[in-house]
Amino acid sequence: MNEILVDINDLHKRFPIHGGLLGREVAAVHAVRGVSLTIGRGETLGLVGESGCGKSTLAMLLLRLIEPDEGSISFDGIDITKMSQRKLRPLRRRMQVVFQDPYGSLNPRMTVGEILGEPLLVHRVVRRSERRDRVMELLKLVGLAEDSYGKYPHEFSGGQRQRIGIARAIALTPALIVADEPVSALDISIRGEILNLLCDLRERFSLAYLFIAHDLKVVEHISHRIAVMYLGRIMELFHAEGLAGARHPYTQALASAVPLPDPTVRRQRIVLSGDVPSQLAPPSGCPFHPRCPYAQEICRSVEPPLVEYQSNFCAACHFIGEMSQRTVSHVAPALHGAC
């Protein structure tokens, strides 16, 4: 897992906003501000953050679906930052994506057989005569019945549609799958099945995932490492086993905000006041300081760098050394044993 598959270095993306009579640039949304990350071969990196924090923009940059303003992206040792779309094409086989909305991401006029057969055809991986067999194999891999081949997306439930999306992503045996909120739209009873499927496929094909979600709990279970994003920056990066030891005030607040399914645990919650600030006018200094309960004078003016404060833990906070571990520890309830 030490071999690096994706190496993102100091990536920036600004979306200019044009206005006025002459359509001049009047403002810009700085969606990704200096993000550096690596994803190892076969590794799952969880990316968490609230809506508008730039996590989906980062994913699109990585897939070169939008162009970065600054910084570099390398995939499997090759710098793809400036690579032409034509040269990029063979590499696209090796990086695939699963979207959040299983309804919107499948063409309603194509049968499942056509949806899954198309990438095979476009990239000329199998002969025409072998295509059907390969699609059947894919259906089996993701746990769909063989008769799904001739059916249309509307004939499937949300969970099954997400399976089709996953089958399409693995059709070209990629090395990396970007999964953008793949289970957020699903019911809890279905969610587990899809997560299990993603885990099975990961082991089978030694896939690397960039797993994007807003739910820290889901990310914790599936990821090897977790990156927490806020206003376009990485606030904390740590090994998933260590979530309870993550010390950044924002990570702690995110973790404590998840309601626990146990009525006897009355957790003292860190309720953040206010909303995520506008990307148009990000706060000076540490982007989190307006909502941070521990903010000091320096936080308003100086932006803290991401530094390793403990082995396997990096955070961008001036006072990380003074932050104690989770102020309120999780009391493990006997809930799961009781059922």
Binding site: E50, G159, D187, R191, A240, L254, T264
Partner: protein, 330 residues
């Protein structure tokens, strides 16, 4: 005191594909000041139940075909069946005595009116008063739900507010006439967790201050555990289990409730190689429900009897509604 007593509520949707039994014989009661959680997955009938209580089921295709909704309309008289009220009388209940907050704060606010106008409309309609009085009340309500600089904010349009702020406006609107019951249909589902925490805290605080009852419809068992006193678990249009929050979370008896609880990601990271617990299969088609227990096809403990007989409310006499023949053994 029982504020609301729902008896055998049955709402069907008459579609081309057949009769969809969205709510089937649902009965429960609600005390003053109590929080009731209604949980279940999409399509289980929980939102339809909430809409039925407000008599807002879209007609066609929906119709409340049976049941009674007994509501304590006046403090002295006996309860009144809301289903028998004339439309005009029902309008006086809706918004004034029973108010509702919907999931989508963007689509439930009118984009061309300021939020002050929209909150004021409810007050004007139900309580009246001079323009100035209404305005003062609006500003007071906005401050109450934690919107900063509320005087200025009252002139804002919905698009100028964030999702969390919009949901606060919805709550301010619902509470502006001090209702006895607040129906909240997935009030935090569209929000980020940190904002969800704020809204849940707000609801809890306002409920205690105003002494109102809360019906919280959600699919998130975590939210229910934090907010509710009692819980109703729905599956395929029916209540499958009902109990206090402790009973549901510590002593669940229906295999569906047990499955739902197991499906929540556990608190600490699973060891490598272990998998999430799931409920295999999917929700049955409500227009073509199988005979017997609707959960039978997905139940790990299914017996031949489950597919033959309708399951009564409490066949095992566990003392509360658990719609399972084997509730005492689960």
């Amino acid at each position: 005191m029982t504020l609301l007593s729902v008896q055998n509520l049955t709402t069907h949707l008459f579609t081309d594909a057949g009769v969809v039994r969205a709510v089937e014989g649902v009965s429960f009661s609600l005390e003053r000041g109590e929080s009731l959680g209604i949980v279940g997955e999409s399509g289980c009938g929980k939102s339809m139940t909430a809409l039925s209580l407000m008599r807002l089921v879209p007609d066609p295709p929906g119709k409340i075909v049976d049941g009674r909704i007994l509501f304590q309309l006046t403090s002295t008289g006996g309860p009144v069946d809301l289903l028998l009220l004339a439309d005009e009388q029902m309008r006086k209940v809706r918004g004034k005595r029973i108010a509702m907050v919907f999931q989508e704060p963007m689509t439930s606010l009118n984009p061309v009116y300021t939020i002050g106008d929209q909150i004021g409309e409810a007050i004007k309609l139900h309580e009246g008063g001079s323009k100035k009085q209404i305005r003062e009340r609006v500003v007071e309500m906005l401050a109450h739900v934690g919107i900063p600089s509320s005087v200025k904010r009252a002139n804002d349009y919905p698009h100028q507010l964030s999702g969390g702020m919009r949901q606060r406006v919805m709550i301010a609107m619902a509470l502006s006439c001090r209702p006895d019951i607040l129906l909240a249909d997935e009030p935090t589902t569209a929000l980020d967790v940190t904002i969800q925490a704020q809204i849940l805290d707000l609801l809890r605080r306002l409920q205690a201050e105003l002494g109102m009852s809360l019906v919280l419809v959600t699919h998130d068992l975590g939210v229910v555990a934090e907010m509710a006193h009692r819980v109703i678990v729905m599956y395929a249009g029916k209540i499958v289990e009902q109990g206090t929050v402790d009973q549901i979370f510590k002593d669940p008896r229906h295999p569906y409730t047990q499955g739902l609880l197991r499906a929540i990601p556990p608190l600490s990271k699973l060891p490598a190689g272990t998998r999430f617990a799931t409920i295999p299969g999917s929700v049955p088609d409500l227009a073509r429900l199988p005979r017997g227990c609707s959960f039978a096809d997905r139940c790990p403990k299914v017996q031949p009897r489950c597919r033959l007989e309708e399951v009564p409310d409490d066949p095992c006499n566990v003392g509360r509604l658990v719609r399972c023949f084997y509730a005492d053994k689960n």
